[in-house]
Symmetry: C2
């Protein structure tokens, strides 16, 4: 299958590596931001653009009958995006896989599976340790901050600590910066520590992780316990998930199952190269 | 959906509890071993019979157009069973979900997902601590053994210890029994400890578990680490998985996707009650 990459930042580069490593894919083209997208030649376009630009880029591709993959990550608007793209996919006889990263994405698959295994109970998704993009951007926007990094630290039961490393602008007061951060909407509900550092750049690290736990009831039997842990390079995993979903999108399209799907709507086997016989023998 | 249970041992009883707890299912009938199966009235039959009898019972149901679920667990013959049942399912316009337990079953889904997340690397499935049915039966068959229990203890990297508790027949020699167990095909490749106890019955416990680990490569990035752990009541989980797969089978049948499927071929959302909109909003 021929794969086009749209957007060439951290994620675009990670997708490129995953496509080149895939035994069943050819990288047909890489489109940078603002390239002309009027004539994409590919079976599937992997959208590595900022989340808010996903709907626009997806529509451009879908209208050319090209399958699309995105890692749209605004949890509360995923269903909306699916509803927006699905009729367009059906009209143009193609497939979109949306919210295809690790959370939303592969974590969503684990949450769905655990809910099936123990329908009554509580699932906690504990993120990190790792950098939160949203919180980092919020901290950078604070007056007096030259650069910032907000780490998410998992405290269990879905509660997180925020470790905010700030590089101050000349003359800025750390006490004042701390006060502004602590009352910001992104930080005011969580335990937050603000630490002044001489350089944020030297702290940067794309490591991230998750600890996803569920204790629940199967049938009438309580105390069923499940746990999923990851410690990963964030863009590398996101890129790999998008590439796996590109494979599934092309297969769904070939099967005539047009529309927009989230990862919990895909059969895991379709994420994998190789024939069903070999995969079933290896994995089941 | 109307669900029939065929076979009423440990698993049949666990399935019954899970069906009764399901908001979208009605238990239409429970068939004991040797009941007349010529006129089953149900959308789906959950086969809780011994693994070797699954093909026979599945065919009886499929020929009546009824979807079937089994937890057939001979890993090396799962593909064969799928190949045998799938054309029959297609002929009778129905669906079978096979090997639907926790391993094979939900663990297979986790293995497939982890392979998609990091295509290069090694996955280890470490079972236990918990009772191995196969090893327990093998130990019971040894001359001089009245009753036995073989526990599987995970040592990591897919290596297991066998703790074999034996209740001896009158006059039996523990040294001789131990020697026979250690050279048995089931035990000779693993570290095995044989322990004489006055009563095996008081040791019994249906607890089991798994520790499934993968370290691999996403794209070109090494050191991606994943882990899935469970500590569960074995029949309760098996029953719950079968019930979740019954739901998926009926949905696949309604969608006209006839045939036999393993769990890695099912979309996780189809395992769950409720509408896609609510599930996507909750889980993705």
């Amino acid at each position: 299958m021929n794969v086009a990459i749209i957007g060439y930042g951290n994620i675009g580069k990670a997708v490129e590596q995953a496509v080149l490593a895939a035994p069943d894919m050819v990288l047909s083209d890489v489109f940078h931001h603002n390239d002309d997208l009027s004539r994409i030649k590919a079976d599937v376009a992997i959208l590595c653009v900022p989340t808010r630009e996903v709907p626009e880029y997806a529509q451009i591709c879908i209208k050319q009958g090209i399958a699309t993959i995105d890692s749209f990550d605004i949890h509360t608007r995923i269903y909306e995006l699916r509803k927006e793209l699905s009729p367009l996919d059906i009209q143009h006889k193609t497939v979109s896989v949306i919210a295809a990263g690790w959370d939303p994405g592969s974590d969503s698959v684990v949450r769905a599976l655990l809910l099936a295994l123990a329908p009554q109970g509580i699932t906690y998704t504990n993120f990190g340790p790792g950098r939160s993009m949203g919180h980092t951007v919020a901290a950078k926007a604070i007056e007096g901050v030259r650069d910032a990094l907000s780490l998410t630290i998992p405290l269990g039961t879905g509660v997180h600590r925020r470790m905010v490393y700030v590089e101050l602008e000349d003359g800025a007061d750390i006490k004042r910066v701390e006060k502004l951060i602590l009352k910001d909407d992104y930080f005011k509900y969580d335990e937050t520590h603000v630490i002044a550092v001489p350089s944020v750049a030297v702290l940067n690290n794309v490591a991230h992780g998750v600890n996803l736990v569920r204790s629940g009831v199967s049938g009438t039997t309580h105390n069923q316990r499940f746990e999923f842990n990851m410690a990963i390079n964030n863009p590398a995993l996101t890129g790999q998930v998008m590439v796996a979903c590109a494979r599934a999108a092309v297969r769904m399209k070939e099967a005539g199952r047009f529309g927009a799907y989230t990862m919990i709507e895909l059969a895991p086997i379709d994420l994998l190269p190789g024939n069903p016989e070999a995969l079933i023998k290896e994995l089941v």
